[in-house]
């Protein structure tokens, strides 16, 4: 099979297994994309973990702990897929803590209040599940298969987040204010989340059918699904231009693409702290890995 034939095969809906022949360029793109997904799952627990000890009730603490466990579990599954493509998990973690690898923009920001926890679990997970559902059709079958399990677990996260938000919205004025402030803080990063609106035919991840939708399609789907749910609670989306046109397309203020680039290249407000924490955790737990491996040997 030539590279061109392979390209036609995946563009025609064909799927590829681990042992199948694939062009080097495809393998490289897969590793880059899937590794970034794994990194995001792993780094994404850090902002939430800060709130486990400060959760308002035991129930919330348990739910948040379960969500954190889920996300770390997703990282394990995803790194497993990367390993089978040729890059060991330890190498992924080395690159991550050295600041050589990327992770999603939303995990570079601080979480200031419990309102942020609700908004993250509801809306950040909603944005993420839109991208992840589009991966169920990924041309690389092992990745598509684990996405089924991941999407299933994410749906609990969205519900949990929405429950946190609804509880606050039914509370005091001060609690409603927490949600509004959090939404205002997170709106910018949420609008940047799906990436700049390059035509999908020019997006190599779409060309190889790693992703099955373009960035703007994903953002439109997010706006269409969630803005009405935000509005019905009496919350204000901090974008005066936001509206749904008669043809169904959402208009909005151009997201700050410079901010996105700046943040994902390692210059977000919490990037350094979180990588430090990840590095420290890895060093502190090194002895456990050594003992486990020695014990098993």
């Amino acid at each position: 099979m030539t590279e061109q034939e392979f390209l036609e095969y995946v563009q025609g809906g064909g799927q590829v297994e681990t042992g199948d022949w694939m062009p080097d360029a495809y393998r490289a793109k897969l590793i880059k994309f899937i590794e970034m997904h794994g990194n995001s799952e792993l780094m994404g627990v850090l902002p939430e973990r800060e709130w486990i000890l400060r959760a308002p009730t035991l129930q919330r603490k348990l739910a948040l702990t379960a969500k954190v466990q889920d996300e770390v579990g997703h990282a394990q599954l995803i790194y497993r897929v990367v390993e089978d493509l040729g890059k060991p998990r330890e190498a992924c973690l080395d690159d991550l803590v050295a600041g050589r690898a990327k992770f999603h923009n939303v995990f570079h920001y601080p979480t200031k209040t419990w309102g942020d926890v609700g908004v993250i679990a509801w809306l950040v997970d909603a944005a993420a599940i839109i991208s992840q559902k589009a991966l169920l059709k990924c041309s690389y079958a092992p990745y598509a298969r684990i996405m089924k399990k991941i999407c299933w677990e994410e749906s609990f996260h969205i519900l949990h987040g929405r429950d946190v938000v609804l509880t606050l919205m039914n509370g005091t004025d001060e609690q409603r204010e927490l949600v509004q402030e959090a939404l205002t803080r997170w709106w910018g990063p949420l609008m940047q989340f799906h990436g700049n609106p390059i035509p999908r035919e020019e997006d190599p991840m779409f060309v190889w059918r790693i992703k099955s939708q373009g960035n703007e399609e994903a953002r439109q789907q997010f706006l269409d699904g969630y803005v009405p749910q935000i509005w019905e609670l009496g919350l204000e989306v901090p974008d005066p231009k936001l509206r749904k046109r008669e043809d169904g397309v959402w208009e909005y203020t151009e997201p700050d693409w410079d901010e996105l680039r700046h943040v994902v290249t390692g210059h977000g407000p919490r990037t350094a702290d979180r990588l430090d924490l990840r590095r420290e955790a890895r060093e502190h737990s090194a002895w456990v890995r050594q003992v486990v491996l020695a014990e098993a040997a």
Binding site: E83, P142, A296
Partner: protein
């Protein structure tokens, strides 16, 4: 070691491949598999198989086009139509 995990969602159903886990030995593999594929009661049972133990065969070529042992080898439509017409003619 890499273990392939198969899970059964409900009693009576076939086990289906769920994914793989990396573990230093079988004991750890069991713990990881339980956590990863069973902690929400989403499985009634799991099978753990060392990847090396799997023998994959994927070369099923039908060089002779042997359709006689498959349902797509029996297209009855035209023959049935003819048989019905003949029966009707006989019954006159």
């Amino acid at each position: 070691m890499i273990y392939e995990v198969f899970r059964q969602e409900r009693k009576g159903q076939a086990f289906q491949h769920a994914g793989s886990i990396g573990a230093p030995n079988q004991e750890f593999a069991e713990v990881y598999a339980r956590e990863q594929y069973g902690r929400r009661q989403e499985s009634t049972a799991l099978w753990l198989v060392p990847r090396d133990a799997i023998d994959e065969l994927d070369d099923f070529v039908d060089e002779l086009g042997r359709t006689y042992h498959r349902v797509d080898g029996y297209s009855l439509k035209a023959k049935l139509k003819e048989a019905r017409e003949r029966a009707a003619a006989r019954a006159g």
